[in-house]
Structures are given as C-alpha cells and as structure tokens.
Symmetry: C2
Subunit: 137 residues, 2 copies
DNA sequence: TGGATCGATTGCGAAGCGCAAGTGAAAAGT
DNA sequence: ACTTTTCACTTGCGCTTCGCAATCGATCCA
C-alpha cells in the first residue's frame, strides 16, 4: 500500500487532495462546532449528505488522520467518531471560511448561533482555544 | 436566470458551493500569492489543471464575484484576470490552509518561498496586509 | 499571406455524485 | 424465543463531472 502521489509540493494542494470537495469540511464542521460524533448525526445535517458519500468521507478523513473511529463500548451497533489533534488543527481555516461566508450574505440572514459568531469576530483565537478545551480538556 | 439554491443557511456550505473542489482555491492561490493574471499562467502551475476545467473554474469564480475578467487592451487574444475585494477576502482562509498543510509535512520539504512562510508564521495579519497593498495599492 | 499564440471548446472513457433500496449485526420490545 | 427496530453502512443505477488529447476561431507576427 503506497500513499497516493501529490500533485505538487504546495501545502494548499496537499490540503485540497485530502478534503477539497463539497462535503469533507462540513463533516469537520459538525465535529468541531456541533460536537457530533455519530454517523446518523452527520447524516442528519441540513445539507443532506448521501449515506454512501458520508461513509466514503469518514473513511478518507480517518485515513488522512483527521479523525478517529471507534466502536461505541455501550452499544455494538454504534460507532463513535472524534477529532484528532491534526483534524482540530483545521479549525482556524474553518473559522476563516465561516467568517468569509458570513460576510457574503446580508446581515440578518439565518446562520450559526449568534454567540459563536460574536465570539469568532471579536476574539477568534480565544474562541478556538475554547473549542480546543471542549475537545481535549 | 435564477441563482442556484443553497444547500443550507450555513456560511461554510455556501463557501463550499462556490469553491469546494480540488481546483478553485489553487486558482485563487495563483492570483493572491503568485500574482498570476492570465489563462496560460494558471494552466502552467505545477498541478497541471486541464484547460477545460480551468476555463470552467474561471467562469464560476467570476460569476461568484471572486475575480474579474477583462480583455488585455494591448493584445486582443489575451485576457486579464484579477482579484475582486471579495476574492481577496479569502486570503486569511487560504493562509490558514497553507499553514495547516505546512504543518502536516516534515520540515525541509520543498514548498512556498521561505520568506512568505516566515512572514505568515510570525505576523499573519501583517503579511496579509502586504498582499492587499500589492493588489489594491 | 502563412504560421504561431492564446483562450478557450469538443469528444471520449473513467471516476464520482445523488438518490433509493437493501444488508447484516446488534439491541429493544413482547 | 422471536420479531421488530435501529444503526452503520453497501449496492445499483443514471447522471454529472473529471482528466486527457485534439481542435477551434480570433488575433498577432514575419
């Protein structure tokens, strides 16, 4: 098993090879911001990812080391997904993308919890540190 | 002509609908960091984008208002692409993705100019301000 | 006028997508 | 014990997008 070849030595191209599609970062979002941990929770997000695509993305992200997959010790049917430190490292990028997206829509448009948006805007690094604590204590 | 429907009211999903693929952000990268302005320059990047895909991405990014397209006044064959303020607004996100990508590879791996990387690491906002000046005076 | 350049478009096979239905293992219900 | 439900996928299918090579029309240059 040889790791797939890189398109170039650009770190951005490397990143896009791992999650440059319309779904991967939404799964990361659900993990980072919403604290979701299970297949059915990701599937229930309003964007409506197809289950075959979700299954594929979870596998790829696990292979890439961005998340961890483990059986739920209390229920043999369930699987728990969680962020790795590497995966959480994308949080600053996610935040910038969210802030950019917010700036593109007229104020008042429904979106993420106002409290989170507020925190991100006035103290980005503090908000990220708070998220880190939530995930890693 | 009605604008395509959004998958959700999430600003990240909105962003990914515009450039959530393996190529769009590389075109933005070439504009923001390399100062490329012409079709053939984008096509010459080491990742080797196919010309039909490049043509499509330039069209989409222009439609989305991230870049501008104008004929070269000095050569009727040529077209000049340039960043809009909206497109440049993605620079912080690009930088975070680049920094993340850099952290995933062993030090010493070839990549972007060391001077840019240095500047991004120790004064991200200053580096972005310098890029802004380069594009908008 | 003939050839080169530029920014595309076209054609084609392969890969990936969205959607709906189905599967197997494990838990819950009776 | 046995049936039903839940859960995390997997499968099948038609459609879209992809990568790749060839080609195109318009424009510039000799």
């Amino acid at each position: 098993m040889t790791s797939p070849q890189r398109r170039s030595n650009c770190p951005l191209a490397f990143a896009l090879d791992l999650f440059g599609d319309r779904w991967s970062l939404l799964v990361l979002r659900d993990l980072v911001f919403a604290g979701k941990r299970r297949f059915s929770e990701f599937a229930a997000s309003p964007e409506g990812i197809a289950t075959n695509v979700l299954s594929d993305r979870l596998r790829r992200l696990e292979e890439a080391g961005l998340l961890r997959r483990e059986p739920d010790p209390e229920d043999g049917r369930k699987v728990l997904y969680s962020l790795t430190e590497t995966g959480f490292g994308l949080t600053p990028a996610l935040c910038e993308l969210v802030l950019w997206g917010l700036d593109q829509q007229p104020p008042g448009t429904p979106g993420p919890p106002a409290q989170l948006v507020e925190a991100l805007r006035k103290d980005r690094d503090g908000a990220i540190a708070a998220l880190r604590r939530k995930h890693f204590g």
